[in-house]
Point group: D2
Amino acid sequence: MIIVLKPSTAPEQLLAFTEKLKNDYGVRINRWDGVHSTVLGLIGDTTQVDIEYIEAQDIVESVKRVQEPYKKANRKFHPENTAVKISDTVTIGDGSLHIMAGPCSVESEEQIVGIAKSVQQSGATLLRGGAFKPRTSPYAFQGLKSAGLDLLKTARKETGLPIVTEIMRVSHIDMFENVDVIQVGARNMQNFELLKELGKTDKPILLKRGLSATIEEWLMSAEYIMAGGNDKVMLCERGIRTYETFTRNTLDISAIPVIKRLSHLPVIVDPSHAAGKSWLVEPLAMAAVAAGADGLIIEVHNDPPHALSDGAQSLTPQQFDGVASKLLSLKKALTQ
Amino acid sequence: MIIVLKPSTAPEQLLAFTEKLKNDYGVRINRWDGVHSTVLGLIGDTTQVDIEYIEAQDIVESVKRVQEPYKKANRKFHPENTAVKISDTVTIGDGSLHIMAGPCSVESEEQIVGIAKSVQQSGATLLRGGAFKPRTSPYAFQGLKSAGLDLLKTARKETGLPIVTEIMRVSHIDMFENVDVIQVGARNMQNFELLKELGKTDKPILLKRGLSATIEEWLMSAEYIMAGGNDKVMLCERGIRTYETFTRNTLDISAIPVIKRLSHLPVIVDPSHAAGKSWLVEPLAMAAVAAGADGLIIEVHNDPPHALSDGAQSLTPQQFDGVASKLLSLKKALTQ
Amino acid sequence: MIIVLKPSTAPEQLLAFTEKLKNDYGVRINRWDGVHSTVLGLIGDTTQVDIEYIEAQDIVESVKRVQEPYKKANRKFHPENTAVKISDTVTIGDGSLHIMAGPCSVESEEQIVGIAKSVQQSGATLLRGGAFKPRTSPYAFQGLKSAGLDLLKTARKETGLPIVTEIMRVSHIDMFENVDVIQVGARNMQNFELLKELGKTDKPILLKRGLSATIEEWLMSAEYIMAGGNDKVMLCERGIRTYETFTRNTLDISAIPVIKRLSHLPVIVDPSHAAGKSWLVEPLAMAAVAAGADGLIIEVHNDPPHALSDGAQSLTPQQFDGVASKLLSLKKALTQ
Amino acid sequence: MIIVLKPSTAPEQLLAFTEKLKNDYGVRINRWDGVHSTVLGLIGDTTQVDIEYIEAQDIVESVKRVQEPYKKANRKFHPENTAVKISDTVTIGDGSLHIMAGPCSVESEEQIVGIAKSVQQSGATLLRGGAFKPRTSPYAFQGLKSAGLDLLKTARKETGLPIVTEIMRVSHIDMFENVDVIQVGARNMQNFELLKELGKTDKPILLKRGLSATIEEWLMSAEYIMAGGNDKVMLCERGIRTYETFTRNTLDISAIPVIKRLSHLPVIVDPSHAAGKSWLVEPLAMAAVAAGADGLIIEVHNDPPHALSDGAQSLTPQQFDGVASKLLSLKKALTQ
């Protein structure tokens, strides 16, 4: 950590400050005097140093971290890729490509079982579906809730596909005991109370990036879960909020290689929510695979115009079949 | 609601679609045929119409709302300003200016009582202080929790100032029973489960704007609380996330007059979090008053360099005294 | 175009307004009366209708375009892809993949000829290089200027590669007469005077997207050039400005399929400027090809640490050789 | 300037690098070795150091400027406020408040003279009006051009108000010889060729902030003009591009105090373009004055619904009279 002091700093202030840093954090300090400012370099483990405390000092002009503030999610301290085992046949992050597919909302047994069978045949290896739905409007359909979870389990029984579904509330964790992958939605990425509790479970977590979260904040949210003892975290890029309005969000394709460099955790891409338009799903999914994603999560609905939520971005099973086939061919070509 | 259809729409598709809209939503439909497209206008109450359902139709090119999707928060249906009564002496939204002041985190009885007395003397009419703290890092100080709530109550007893503090979890609602104003932080603005539960209480709620929430989404979150029966909602602008990095966030000063026009709810401004730098608090607070804010929430710490969180943006009691005096003079000049 | 009127509109105002619209723009008007508002639909060619004029009317609440404001760049009126012929062997937009490569700045004959030969061997089909450099700081190296152009021509003579270089000023157009592709930089995307003059030439133009330009604004800038009679426009996505700071810009990968749908013009992607880091060039370039780009423009420098500008994002010729080989293999796999 | 090196740096690389820095830039270097990295501090004048050169080094992990990259615009080297004298009676930046008012576009002698007289009576001290108009669409009205300049001069003759108008092209500089303040529009903020040429004149320049320019980039554009010898630069905040779409742009009110701290140049605020809606002009202008702006530039049109451009955000002369009166009263109250 590098601290730039104001030119006006008095020698006794400087002394008091450096003594305090040494005592509080056990760091060593290197100092040099420039023309307009004095600079301090902290040597040692600075993860515990509260950057806000430093910035609050009257004598401090600016602070720069040299070391990242996350540890467990950091590739520096964990050089090999983390592979998250979901079931006997599904491991994410081991170099293979996995496609999670299914409807935005679970609506009926017929719907979810039908879609599950269909996407499985097209090559999907996990089933996604929303039982609890975060909706901007209190007047919109909020999901089938626990009945939806039951229907997902029925579909799993019929197909063997592990299920991925979103949690919205700490008190529901017990209810999700039998779910294979628990999804944390973008709007809850910094619901720290939920993250802490999920850290106490041993469930694989799919952590979506917040609407305007930086990559560092996203990794810090992963760190919340991992700090609790659960290291089965997968990061899901789903588009960020920008000034461009043609697409619902802007898929940050760079996030894939950046996460791969900074962290050892697997990266999944959600082209459906990023785009908000079904005709954009294919090109964005192709791009994600070419950029190195470990998996995709794609909305598929047997009858998009009658979907109870997010129909505009859903593929039909037939469309999905074409897209999945291209994605799997691309992955094959890239690994040859 | 206006629906633009694709040029390729067949007459029988059009017929089926319009019949469905009439039956499902009880709306009347006006249609006209342009050169390149057909346009439908829905007449009646369209708040219930699911815009995503419409967008998902194969035959639909785009949709535009004419009516806002929020009702209870909408000035159209509630033309007079809402004034939220907090205590016998404090009502927010009645044309007066209220300043909420206090430390980011409650740290000790001496600290909070000392600050409370000091800010009261300077003109503050509510005491703010964090007991539960949402922190980006799992390794940072997370607040004194319930002990912090107790200390706030002690400070209230000593000064009579109503207290404002942040809630982070549904299961804490009972613990906040004796708090005067419950704050929902920016990161929880779309924690819909929390909003729903707060809607069942009769507590005044200070709803902070999400880091990258649009004004419409913010009003929809207010609507979540109000739909549950609690109409004591105050909206707090605290800066939005933009590309500019000199300030921590960009204070959206326009949000004040925009909310005043779209809604009847009071608007509070938080210049401390918007700026992230204490020397920016005064000019931003002055701007907020000049633009019509009903109140301000300002961080004050007796010893900012030793604050356990957010010290960089805190004023000392002496600085606050100067700022509060200017703000109250400005308010007076504006209302003469 | 759809115009929503305020509820307070008087019948005589409505009449006067609709008459004026009919007379000024030769459009027909369809009107319907909703519960809270009256809506007008304009039928006919609305490209000429000044949306700002409409919005300025006291009686107007909001306006929505149904038709895009660009014509010549619009795929609706030009369904086939435009292929821009640069030389006897290079045509962009015909389904093939072209790689433009070279240094940010031309520095010496040895440098530019050496890089040209090297990138040609690796598969590049055009040579890029900056002679006039737009730099944020007036104190930074501004390019070799006309001497740089001469060196590019020397490199072209040695290799046969067509050259791509940036123009910054209307008065330089004559000097660029013998350049194969004239690049308009992001900062000049809305330098309308320059666009108008380039519209009078018959040179292929590579129009970079502005730092925070919407896709519609970008297409309108293409329209400026095309309205002058020059339809050889190629659009270059180079990353947009967002709140994320880890990458210099955020590559908007969605822009590729979106432009392909809205327009018939070729799309080139610049992964070097988007990322600002050389290790991100490969994954972003791969993503661009998978998403359907017609070409790439990649910075290559024989000695990046000693490059006079933008070294951090340049590849060495050896690195470029590896990347180009993967890109061409990917393109081949995708077209099989 | 602080340079963090990669852990893998070899001693001989380090030596070669530090020698080069010393020789090329005449700086002294302080170095310390941390646990994971080595850090170099450059002491001396680092304005000339090319940050991109540093970042391009293989051995460099990151670089941080301690000193700002601008000099002439920097308050550190010029502590007193710069006051720009426009005419015998108008000096901007001396603590007084100046209002520039007038139509977006000059349309006729009757229009511009009428508005000039009216706004002068309401308290405006400069007349603004566009003769050359940058328009997104090539099909929109582009201004009366040189005839518009003549009409502005007529209005100046009639009222004595100095005139402010926008330049779009280097070759027009001679034509602007007799203009009092030359405006550089947001879209040309980084048209460096234009800035360089304006630096050779002695005209007061009103430099609008680019649509998504950082404060540092904006100051660097001022530096371009000042580096040429012209220090009569005024900075105009006009709203930045964000994800929020309710307002046309987001007025960055913080920019006023930030510029006042970093620079000695005057700050003008344009509430009309920031908001894009006439009813927002008053509250935003009030906020700007309360935050410390030296002036305002406000669009006024005698007949907004028939304005040839930007009518939606224009005030009528009657509305302007009310707004100007409130602004001048506020300024008086603030300086008492």
